[in-house]
């Protein structure tokens, strides 16, 4: 059972009437979509929205609480936290986006060709996906960082590989289901070539499935990327990135100033929850009839 379903079930007990309808249906989905849209907008418009340069240190305003000048306060070198959160949204969103697009495209291509051609290619692809699936993504990324040096690009490359099976396995079984439907054999009978059927008919019909998988894995890739930066192997200081901000705030926590870590952590959690809600909402909406 997925998180949002459980949340809806819990909501049903807690609140009667209209609120229950809100918790079940449109409301949460809309709220999640709004959260995702706002964060993406903030990342794109960071230069317009941020009141300060994210890397500008101000020795006169070190470790301040929130004030009119600095809405969320400053970090231990006097950098404005709001500006850093806004600019930090860029790598924090871009890296998972690239991973999702690469894993989604390559995974779909592998899955569709495997399902269409069958035979040794299908067995090879399935076996390769099983092997990758048995390899924890974070460990793969750490080995990559050890060989090529720390950085977000190596995390993107290795995690794209690690997330392939999550898309490809689901899409492959979807493609197998679809291939067995009469319209495909009708097209074959009409003399349409295999690649053309795949590109024109099979893949478009699988897109909802790919979209749902991509939305859900976007949240998980974001967690992995942030964790990778948190352990110090991803984004390097002084760049602003959410996972790095959570780690960078730990000295502040010990000094009784947890704001930086808490804000960055809260932003990550809220965004990932929104992604998951959106993913299962889309799944109900787009795949509901099929399941």
């Amino acid at each position: 059972m997925s998180t949002p379903q459980l949340a809806a079930a819990a909501g049903a007990r807690l609140v009667p009437g209209r609120l229950r309808a809100f918790a079940r249906g449109q409301g949460t989905l809309t709220a999640a979509a709004v959260v995702v849209a706002l964060v993406v907008l903030a990342a794109v418009c960071a230069p317009l929205l941020a009141p300060y340069d994210p890397n500008a240190v101000d020795p006169l305003a070190v470790s301040q609480g929130s004030s009119a000048a600095h809405w969320l306060g400053t970090d231990d070198t006097g950098r404005d936290l709001l500006s850093r959160l806004l600019y930090g949204a860029r790598p924090s969103l871009l890296a998972p986006a690239v991973i999702t697009v690469v894993a989604g495209t390559v995974g779909t291509a592998l899955a569709v060709t495997a399902a269409w051609l069958g035979g040794w290619w299908d067995r090879l692809v399935s076996a390769a996906l099983d092997v990758v699936f048995g390899f924890p993504g974070l460990v793969l990324a750490v080995v990559g960082a050890a060989v090529f040096g720390a950085g977000l690009d190596i995390a993107v490359a290795t995690l794209s590989l690690a997330y392939l099976p999550y898309v490809a396995r689901v899409v492959r079984s979807g493609a197998l289901r679809e291939r067995a439907l009469p319209y495909i054999s009708a097209l074959e009978m009409l003399g349409m070539s295999g690649p053309r059927i795949c590109l024109r008919h099979l893949v478009p019909n699988l897109l909802p499935l790919v979209l749902v998988q991509a939305t859900t894995s976007f949240g998980y890739t974001m967690l992995d990327v942030a964790a990778f930066s948190f352990i110090g192997l991803g984004t390097q200081p002084p760049s602003a990135e959410w996972g790095l901000m959570v780690a960078g705030g730990t000295p502040g926590i010990l000094a009784g100033r947890p704001e930086q870590s808490l804000y960055a952590g809260a932003v990550i959690v809220v965004f990932v929850v929104a992604c998951n809600v959106l993913g299962s909402g889309l799944s109900r909406r787009l795949l509901g009839a099929q399941r």
């Binding site: 750490v142 060989v147 990550i268």
Partner: protein
């Protein structure tokens, strides 16, 4: 049937481990430049004399499969080479840290299984407000990633309440319990919540089934119905998801060890990767992947042994 299934899973495990070990060892030769620089660590160009020495010591000029085989059998015999950035043998670095990591993972596993199953069973059997409370709390906890829960626990339990130390691994049983409680909790919370939810749904499904109604109708005592008819039958998904959780702990304990400054194998992996000391990274990565894959396979086998209705063939 079960034997054939076990044989196939063992074959998949062997292939996975083979490919993983080749990938981990081969990573050495993917890097631009001389692979020997990666065995020195530190990312700085060492002297030609040292490089030649390393080439000789690690047999880097031999054919790939020969040096791969030497590396693999070396690790199997407890010899994983020398770490030049730590000035110690890799085997000793691992041995010094294995205790902390195993303690941490065992501690977190106990928390996940005991608290997760207890919470889920109470929610599923009691219903009402207990069910609502457990569902709301676990749904929230499931969304909190390990590194955020670590930071929250440090802030709340070590800084504000000062109940537990925020840093270090401790010595002896009490020292370890004191130092590793927060890391274990941080590692466990989101998996604990997941196990609780799976337990709750499994228990609810069983409690509503006809064989339980029949058992109650026969007048069996409540305790017996719960133990023999509900929990026993709900154990399949619970065991399966707990095993997945343990595999997850193995993969993510480096985050927690890094956050709490625990002197463990996960932190060693991260720190040696940052130093680009590949002799250490390769050995730890191989160990982690072996543990991860073996646990996953064991879970699959245990799940199918517990419930003979699970189809053993389906790969779709």
């Amino acid at each position: 049937m079960i034997a054939r299934f076990a044989a196939r899973r063992a074959a998949t495990l062997a292939v996975t481990l083979f490919v993983a070990s080749v990938a981990i060892y081969g990573a050495l030769f993917l890097a631009p430049g001389d692979p020997a620089t990666l065995l020195v660590g530190g990312g700085k160009p060492p002297s030609p004399h040292l490089l030649a020495e390393i080439h000789r010591q690690y047999h880097l000029d031999d054919p790939f499969w020969q040096s791969y085989w030497r590396w693999l059998t070396g690790i199997a015999h407890g010899d994983a080479g020398q770490s030049l950035s730590y000035h110690d043998s890799v085997a000793r670095l691992l041995a010094d840290r294995a205790g902390n990591t195993l303690f941490l993972i065992a501690y977190a596993t106990v928390l996940i299984v005991v608290a997760g199953v207890a919470l889920g069973a109470v929610a599923g059997l009691r219903g009402g407000w207990a069910d609502t409370a457990v569902t709301v709390v676990t749904t929230t906890l499931m969304a909190v990633p390990v590194f955020v829960s670590s930071v929250l626990l440090i802030w709340w339990m070590s800084v504000r309440l000062a109940w537990f130390p925020a840093y270090g691994s401790g010595a002896g049983l009490t020292g370890r319990l004191e130092h590793l409680t927060l890391p274990a909790v941080a590692l466990a919370v989101s998996w604990l919540a997941y196990v609780a939810q799976v337990t709750r749904s499994a228990v609810r499904a069983e409690a509503a089934s006809e064989h339980v109604q029949t058992a109650r109708g026969r007048g069996l005592p409540d305790r017996l119905v719960v133990r023999k008819h509900i929990l026993r039958n709900a154990s399949g998904p619970i065991v399966s998801v707990s095993g997945v959780a343990v595999a997850g702990l193995i993969a993510s304990c480096s985050i927690v060890e890094q956050a709490f400054g625990v002197n463990g194998i996960g932190a060693l992996l991260v720190q040696s990767a940052a130093k680009q000391d590949l002799a250490v990274v390769q050995a730890v990565a191989l160990l982690t992947v072996v543990a991860f894959a073996v646990v996953n396979t064991a879970v699959d086998l245990a799940t199918s042994a517990l419930d003979h209705r699970i189809p053993l063939g389906g790969d779709v």
